[in-house]
Amino acid sequence: MTGNIPFLVVGVVFFLGLYAVLFERNMIKMAIGITLVEASANLLLIVLGYRFDGSIPVFTLAGEVKQMVLPTPQALTLTAIVIGLATSALLLSLIMMLYRHYGTLDVREIRRLRG
């Protein structure tokens, strides 16, 4: 049972992030929500690769230990983190520029493109 708690956390964080993206009016809070969604995806990958009692997956430990955690999801997560950093930086820069142009952070007022 306790092994499933991380998955529960993934779900909770995912839906919290989604809630922020869906219902927050402030763009910075939406950006935070997107970061939360990213964090939940990364956490999911890490949790999937975890093996109980596993040791670190290092080449030189081969044969020494019985079980290692899976290295692939960790590599995947690192890549996803890098991508997440790029998107967050760009998103925040866009919000800065939007604030300069529109003078507001309220997403409901930034709607010149519609219809």
Binding site: L18, V21, L22, F23, E24, R25, M27, M30, V107, R108, I110, R111, R112, L113, R114, G115
Partner: protein, 112 residues
């Protein structure tokens, strides 16, 4: 390379169409050549007919703007377009909302 495309129900042959267009173009050019070329140049015979009014200098004054095109069509479908424009709010929250709602609906359909 020069054969027809069979669709399983009929076929499509581009060269028949090109021949048809060539014939039609020839017909049109022939009809045009039948027109009279002995009108008097420089008189009112080659002026634009604008409901016997003065033709405005700038073309802007006589052009029909694009928003007037298909006025009747849009007017007839007014309720439909009102709904459609209501959907396109332009708010970023709603964009994601439609994504999430569609995911939810499809998830329910697939998982049942």
């Amino acid at each position: 390379m020069w054969s027809k495309v069979y669709t399983g129900f009929g076929f499509w042959d581009v060269y028949t169409w090109i021949i048809f267009f060539a014939l039609a173009a020839g017909l049109v050019l022939w009809l045009r050549s039948m027109g009279r070329s002995d009108y008097k140049k420089g008189t009112e015979q080659d002026e634009i007919f604008y409901g016997s009014n003065e033709v405005p200098e700038d073309g802007e004054d006589i052009q029909v703007p694009a928003s007037s095109a298909y006025w009747g069509f849009v007017e007839a479908l007014q309720p439909y377009y009102e709904k459609l424009l209501q959907i396109h709010t332009g708010i970023a929250n709603d964009y994601v909302g439609y994504l999430v709602v569609t995911t939810g609906i499809l998830a329910v359909l697939v998982l049942i």
